[in-house]
Every structure is written in C-alpha cells, then in structure tokens.
C-alpha cells in the first residue's frame, strides 16, 4: 500500500535537518512533484518533512557596495516572485511560464532548485544571472557549481543574486510545440556590462547549462526524445545562441 508513514512539520531548520536524516525521509517544499510520485508508487514508504513552518519565506533586498542583492527564501512560492516588484522582470516572466496558475501558488523556489530539472526555465534564468544558493549550515555557492556537482543533500534555504545594473540586459528565447509548452530548448541571455554576455540553456543537458562562448556549443551532447532529437537540440542551441549574441551585441 503506498504508505506515508509519517508527516512532520518541523518548526526550525535544525529540527528539519534532523528529521531529514531519517531513513525514509523526503523533504517537501510545495510537494507538487513529491506527492504524486509517492502516491503513485505502491511500494513506497515515506516520511514527509514539510518545510512550510521553518521560516524560509520572504524576499529581501540589501545594498552590497553599489549593487543591490536580492535574496529569496527557499519556501517562497513561484507566485510570490511574480507578485514582487523587486524581482527582475525576466525572472517574473519565467516564473509565469514555468508553471500554470494553479501550480505556481504551491511550488517553491527551493523545490525547483533541488529538483535540478533540465527543463526548468526558471532555474536557467537564475543560472544566467549568476545566482548563488545556500544550503543549511553551508556557505553560499554559485548555482552553477551546485548544478554541475552530483546531487548534494541538505536543505536549500535561499537563493540570491544581484539586481539589474544600469547596463544590464537580458532576454529569453525558446522553441516549443506551442507558445507555453515546456521548451524543447530555451536560452536565457544575460549581460551585466556591455561586451560580455552568457547564455543559459535548458533541454541540452541533464541540468540547465551555462555557455560563455560559441565554441562551447560543440561540447553539448543532449539526450534526444520524441519532441526533439539530439541533433535537433544542438541545432536549436546554436540558432538561439546566435540570436542572443546579436541581441546582446546590438
């Protein structure tokens, strides 16, 4: 019988951390991915650790030197970002595109990060703007480092990035079956200052992937599926990269 052996709602991060080390423990943010998976598996035995009361909500801005750092608590819902004026426009748009109305009110930023989905355009957006994440009791690390290493354990507590500067430029391009379909390949371009830009892709590797120069495209070896073969995905990456390069250099 698909069995949820226990449900915990820890009141602090330390308590959550302790519970999370249990044998059958599974953390949930919103649970949009975990809950259907647990319930569809007749042989699962799970202890759910719900992070809703550990105090990881809130979106704050701080001045660091002459830049503004924006920090988002891991239990913020995607809808919280959409409704927050301090969040850069592109990220808010990516939140709207990532999930439809009925799920973005439940899914969390922490869950999105920990899931490391290769198709997450929101994660790709964070990656393009050099976001850093924090895991409980650990230092901030660049999101790119987190995504490129093997899946780490621990509770994601927050993500932060620098707000847009004067010369900042960003854009989003994607190819999908329909306008709001999960893109086959998508690309977020980001330029902090004129002359430099980087592009973050979905759909070309196991996790969202950062490309800094066009020759790196040749190293991609995407997995194909019925929506797009490996070769086609590579072709799309190259088309989207060229478009973004033109836009960034314009």
């Amino acid at each position: 019988m698909p069995s949820v052996l226990a449900y915990h709602r820890p009141q602090s991060l330390d308590e959550a951390q302790k519970l999370a080390s249990g044998k059958n423990a599974v953390l949930i943010g919103g649970g949009t991915l975990v809950i259907p998976e647990v319930l569809s598996n007749p042989s699962s035995e799970t202890e759910i650790i719900d992070l809703q009361s550990v105090g990881l909500t809130g979106i704050t801005s701080e001045n660091e030197g002459n830049e503004t750092s924006i920090k988002i608590g891991a239990m913020s819902r995607l809808s919280d970002l959409i409704n927050n004026e301090n969040i850069p426009h592109l990220l808010r748009e990516l939140c709207s595109k990532e999930l439809p109305s009925t799920l973005r009110t439940q899914a969390t930023i922490g869950g999105t990060i920990a899931e490391r989905s290769s198709e997450s355009i929101l994660l790709s957006g964070f990656l393009a703007i050099n976001a850093e994440i924090q895991i409980h009791e650990k230092n901030w690390i660049p999101l790119n480092e987190y995504l490129q290493s093997s899946p780490p354990t621990g509770i994601v507590t927050a993500i932060k990035f620098f707000g847009p500067s004067d010369e900042f430029k960003s854009c989003f391009h994607s190819v999908g079956r329909t306008p709001m379909d999960v893109p086959i390949v998508s690309a977020v371009g980001y330029s902090k200052s004129k002359g430099n830009f980087q592009v973050s892709f979905t759909g070309v590797a196991e996790v969202p992937t950062l490309i800094n120069a066009s020759d790196e495209l040749a190293n991609l070896n995407p997995q194909g599926d019925f929506r797009g073969s490996s070769d086609y995905r590579k072709h799309l990456a190259s088309v989207l990269y060229t478009r973004i390069a033109q836009e960034m250099q314009a």
């Binding site: 649970g31 949009t32 007749p42 719900d50 809703q52 009925t102 019925f226």
Partner: protein
Amino acid sequence: MKISFSLNEQQVETDVELHETLLQLLRRRGMISVRYGSDSGETGAGAVLIDGQLTSTDCMLAVQIDGHDVLTVEWFNKPELHPIQAAFVATGAMQSGYSTPAMILGAWELLNRNPNPTEHEIRDMLSGILDRETAYVKPVEAVMRAAALMRGEANEPFGPVYLPPLTDGKNPVDVSPDDDAPDASPAVPRVVPSKDVPEMAVVGKPEVKVDAVRLVKGNPAFTDDFEERGQLIAKVLRSPHAHANIIDIDDKKAVALPGVHAVIHYKNTPRIKYASGGQSWPNPHPHDQVSFDNKVRHVGDRVAAVAAETKEIAQTALGLIKVEYEILPYVLDEVETMEPNSPVIHDEEDTEEIYDADKNIVLRIEAERGDVEKGATEADYVFEDTFKVHQVQQVPIEPHISVAWLDSDERLVVRTATQVPFHVRRMLAPLIGRDIKDVRVIKPRIGGGFGAKQEMLIEDIVAHLAIATRRPVKLELDRSEEFIASRTRHPQTLTFTTGVEDSGKLVSQNLRLIGNTGPYGTHGQTVQTVAGLRGLTSYNAENKKFDCDVVYTNTPVAGAYRGYGAPQAEFALEAHMEDIAHSLGKDPIEFKRQNWVKVGDELNIAPHLGERPAGPDDIDEYPRITSNGIEECIAQGKRSIKWHRKDDPNWVSPKDQPNIRRGLGFAFCMHGTAIPFLDMGGCSIKINDDGSFNMLVGATDLGTGADTVLGQIAAEVLGVPLSDIQVYSSDTDVTPFDTGAYASSTTYISGTAAKLAAEKVRERIKERAAKLLNIKEPCSIELRDRKAIAPDGSSVSIEDIAMEAFHLEDHEQIMGTASYVSPECPAPFAAQFAEIEMDIDTGQVTIIKLVMAVDCGVAINPVTASGQVEGGMLQALGYAHCEEYAFDETGKMINDSLGPYKIYRADEMPDFEVFLVQTMEDSGPFGAKAVAEIPKDGVAPAIRNAIINATGVAINEIPFTPERVWQKIRESEI
C-alpha cells in the same frame, strides 16, 4: 492524523489519512464541486482557493492544509447567483461544466486583486485549468463581463451579432481588402441569417443552458458526485507488455489481503465474445474481445481487476497478483503489421469474421462507383499523394467512471459516464449472463466524451465485481489509463489518386486507406467507412473508389473520436486538392470550387459506404445535396482572415525578420448529419398542472447543450418559454430509446423526435382548447405565450387546459411520445481559414488565428452552436499542431500524462472567430443540420496549406511539430 483548517469560513477539525490528498478530503466532506481530472495537478479541475490563491488539490496531501484556509464554490452558493456565476451562465461559458467551479474561483480571486484585468491576465489565471470544450473563448468573455458587473458597469445582453450576407447564397464574390469584418468580441457568434428562415420565438435564440445553474454552482451532477452506501473501489491490473500470452495468474495473495472483496481475471470470468464499440445492434464484426483474456495485446490491456474497501488496498492487491507472461513480438505500424513476418495479434480460435487474421487484417472495405481505372486512363493528368496521420486522444477532463450495484430487486444498476446508455445496457447484459430487463443504465451529466465514451469500456468490470461482491463498486480511470486503456483516434495511411481533365474537372478519385484500429476492432469499420465517405463525397467525379484495409496492431485501441474518420480523410483530401491546384497553376479555392458538390449534386458513392452498405444495384436514387451555404462561408471567412495578404510578399516575408514567414491557408469542409436509416432518437413529453412540461429524452448531452437545444425545439412547438420545459436524460428504465450521442445526430435526429412528440402534445392541447373556446377547428388555434389562441383572439392559458384535463373534465394525462430515424443525411459545410507564422530556422509554427464559417442549417441556439465550433477547433488544433502518442522501444506510451502529451491551454490560444451561416435544411427540425463534428475537419489542412503559402513546403504528415517541420524545410532547401 487530526488537522484543523478553515473550510468555507467554518473551522473544521478532522481526521485524515496521511496518504489522503486534499482533493479526496474535500470531496469526502461533500465539496463535490472539487473535481478529479488528474493526480498530479495537470488539469486544474480540482483547484480551490488556498489562503486566497488558486491552487490544485490533487498533488497536495490533506495534512499540508493544517492551519490554512480553503474556499470552494460551495461557499458562493446562495439562492441567487454570484455575478461571476451569472456571467458564466449568460455567456454559455461552460459545456460539460466539469471544470467550471475552478474557473469561477480563479475569476473571483483575480477580480478581487484586479477589478479591471486584461484579457492576458484572465488567460493567465485560466492557464492551470484545462478545458477541451469551450476553447476558453466564452470563459474569458464571462470573466470580462463579470468584472464589468462587479465594477458597477452594465453589460449588453450576450447574444449573436447579425451580419448582412456578402453573397446571394450561391455565387462567389470578391471580398475587397478594405472591407473589414465587423468588430465584436470573439465570443460572440456572428450569425448570417437567411431569408428562407422564419423568425421564431425560442429557436434561434441564445437561450441559457437548461443545466447552467447546476453547473456553475458545482451541484451534484456527474457520476462521481453520487455515492452508494458501502461502495467498494475497483482498480485494474494492466499489461506492461505490448503483446504477450498469459501463461498463469496466481491471485491467492491478493485475495487474502484484508479489505479485498474480489479479484477477477480470465480464470474466473466467462469467456463471452463481444465488440466494445457503442453501436446499433448487431454490432459490426469481428467480436474480438472478452472481459478478461489469457492474452494481452497492448501495453495497458486488461489483466485482472480488484474490488476493495479503499483505493490504496485495491492498488496494493494489484501488486500481489502474480502473472506469468510469455512475451511476444509486437507491431505498432499499420503498414508493417500486414507484412509476412509480423506477429499475429488475434491467433485465438473463437473470434469469427476476421478478414485475414494471419495478416492482421480485421476487415476489407471496398466500394466503387463508375470505373476508377478507366477514368484515370482517360484523364489528362493523374496525381497521387500519400499522407500519414497519427494517434491522438479525446482527453475528456472527466475520465471514464462507472458505478454498479444490485438494487433491492437484485437488478443490476450501472451509473456511468457514457454517450450510449442504451447500447451499454444491450451489450452488457450477455456478458454478465442477464437479460436486458435485469439491467438498468443511468447516465448522469458527463464531463466530456468526444467519442471516448461511445464505448462499453469499463461497465462490464464494475458489473462483474458488483455481482461477485454484492456491494456497489466504483471504477474511475486515472489519466494514464485514459491514454493507454481508453480509446483514441485511428492512425491511418491514406493515398489519394485523382484523375483531372485539362479544364480542371475531376474525372476519377481513388482513396486507398489503411486504418490502424489497435488490437481490437471496435469502431474500425465505422470510422474507416466515414473516412471513405468524407474523403470521396466532397468533390464530384464520375468514377470513385474506396479501397481500405482495417488492421490490427499493438498500439492502444482506436475508437470513436469526434468526427470519426473525417479529420483524417479531410486532411489528406484538402492537402491533395491543394497540391493538384498548385501543380496545375490554378488558384486552390477556384479549383476546389469547380469540383465541390453543390445543391442538387448526387452523393454518388455514399450509399455504398456505411455500417450497412448498399450493393451496386440496390439504389434507385442517390442522395443529393439539399442545402449548401459554402459561398457565404468563404466570403465571410476571407474577409475575417484578410485573405488578400497571402499574395503580399512583404507580409509573407517580413523584411525586418529574415527568419519569419507568414501564411494563410484554407480548407473546404463537408460533414454528415447522422447515419441514415440507423440513428434513432426518442422523446416523450407530458404536461404538468401548471402548464409546464417534463421532457424525457434518451439522447445524451455531453456538454454539447443537447438538452437545451431539444428543450428549445419542444418549447417552440408548444408556445412556451424554455424555462417551462424540464429536460431529463437519460435512464434506460425511464427515458425512451436513443442510439446515443454520436455521428452528429442529436439535434437532427433526437431534435426531430422532440419536435414530433411536442406536436402530438400540441394537438391534444389544441383539441381541448377548441372545446373550451367553442371553436370548431382545433387546427386554427395557435400556441403562443403560454396560451392557446383562437383566430378571433380569444384564448385560454395552457395552465388552465392542464388543470381542466387533470381535475375537471374528460380527465387525461396530455402526453406524447415519438421517435425518429432519418432517411437522409444532409451535409453541413464550412470554410476553415488559418493564419500562421513560422520560424524557418527552427521549424516552430505558431498559429495566429483560426476562422471557421459554418453552414449548419439553422442554429437552434447560436451560443451553444458557436461553442461547439470553438471546442471542435481547439481539439482540431491539437491534432494538427502538438498532440501525439510517443512510444518507447517496448511499445509503451511514454507521454501518458498531460504536459508531455500537450493540449492547448488558455494562455497560448490563437484568436478564434466563428461565423454561423444559416441555410434552411427542410429535412431538419426547424431547418437544423449538424454542427458538432465539422469543426474537427479543416484545421490541419488549413494550417498545412498556410505553411505552403509561407514557405512553399508541403508536409504530408501531422502534427506540425518543430523538428518535423524543420526537417522538411531542410529537405526542400528554401
């Protein structure tokens, strides 16, 4: 575990199971407006407001809600409607209404936050609530109008705009580029009236749906909204293999699991052959199914079923059933399956009338008129093109669901989401060893069907289990089962060979078709026959031939899907005709016009194609086209889509966007209305004390508005408003027989039955009125405004006539029953236009606008009729553009959930515009023809032809997904 939360502003403390979802908890507590559509949040049918925000409830545990606030539509429900509910009612914003409560909650939240939302914001709010019926057109309008009302602004009453005709009804006209279509909200049907159609009181009016209030309030309406005491839950064990023999089943452990009441499979159910397609008796052969077989023929095929106290116990029991399989090779492709080394899918001895079991050919269909070979030799040109169309699913948001129990007389009762209750009763009885009289089938409201529910799909399972356990048993499919174990559209390979004279006249047309029915025949014959009909009757040619093999494969089973074989055939036909026109250097519309059927033309091959085809010498007179409004449809459509742009190179290839191409495309569409001499409808009407009427129909309203339309027809005859007709459908113990909702038959067939029954009642009312008014000739009396009115102006109310009949003189129940089967099948026509934009570097095609102008005779209700066209175009758009089954190397479908299987949502829809061009079809009730299926026919070819306009590239395979289009562009080196 105990939780406490606020439900509709009442604090609730309750125990929940840890594995219980919020959806289950809310339904358990009577919030039945919260509807099941999926288990992972994809459909939004069960969305509610949590802490004021619209949120899915199916991917959330009930315990997560501890300490939070939940609002459901039940919270709104007062005797009067909330302005949002009223706006949904007024605009006809729901068809089945299954997901309407979620939409209303979302609208309420949005309007609280933003009293003046843009269309984009409304569509964004609706993005999580999938709808297969309204195409979101009227829900968006409803929210706009509710917003205005809540801001204190007045709304104009919602109804059609009436447009002056652009043509004389027969001859084409040039539409000037400067002539703009009138501006109106996209939700508003544009009606082009015909002078042949008289003004009527109820028919032709945008009457509110008879069940609208029930649906906007989320009141009990659907199968799962009613619960029998002591109900068990059933689950089905399904095959993980595409093709395998079952060597043995060991159910001991499952049977021993506490809470399990029955386990059934091939060893303990009778082996009685049947065909599951919900069709008239005798069901077409072969009867190649049994309830549980010792062979599985597709991934998802039935292996065993369990009835248990809870879903979780049933699911666990499935895992305890030990099945020993002998895995066999499998085949998915309809051409490959006929090859010599392909596995034989039906090797059993006891299936009769398979045409050639060794070659997996279920049946051959052949029909010819004239001599196609001779015609082709005599033609100046012969063109041949092959097309491939794929497998898609109906995706009703309410999955298949049935509940069966033994009533106090020990008769078997099945409440089921079906389009064909009478067929189900007849087909089910022998499988469970009962007489028809011992079976009762009740069809409540259905949350969408589109053909998937024109099948006896799961009723036999719940019946077997209810008999075995003597308890009520419910089975509801989950979303994955809907994909792999329900029904789909038939994939086909179609080759048209057409002989053409120099003048452009067609002389011969041959359609070779291979139809893939999956591993069971069910609708194989009918669907392929309709493909032949639709492929070969749209254009005149003296010589025509249909040559078809229906074949078995190991894909999920194909069946009926709105339009039957027409969308497949018309894609191929309209593509083929377009390409011929281009090859001959002719304008495609001109070339098609030269050849399409016009009023008076013979449908020369039609009677030889059908469930009961006529032999070559059986026909004295061939059916002819009796009404055709295509020229007006084309003129309205051209004006709306701005057809002249297709010839403007600066529009097609915008200079500032070198990777973009634009295009416009057209498709001529023709459909049928019911199956002549076969589809039958019945209706019975009785008067009540107050002069109102009860109307019992066997017809099944799938959300199409059939109950409303049938009520309107009766109201028109009886001279009363629609609100005086109480429509009830359908229950095999109570309502008259009806073949069911399919083949575009309800308005035409059941509508005529309703008209005839109402006319019988009207005669009795007139006779009694004549007596009361001292008039000699009852026929001179008219029924109008709830009164019987004599030529001299004297009158008596229908209420007084009823009272007199019941309580004073010559006591009688005034009532009438009638049935109807039609000798004819009048064709609706339509012009489908598409505007697209494509990126030639990536192959991505974006659909900008779809316009359909339909001649459906007289639209009995223009709002529900335009809703049918919108919903049909939405599904046709998915067929053309993004929906498809994908399989892995074991033959398993890999995209069996919504998302990977992509259906359009509200925030990505192209613009839609619908025109209803009236013609008077004398054979239909008040001039009506069909409207529900024709919108499925033209979208794919119109988009294809628009791609040709944009790039010159012709693509003969759908859907137009980016990589497929990109490959074709590369091959043609544009």
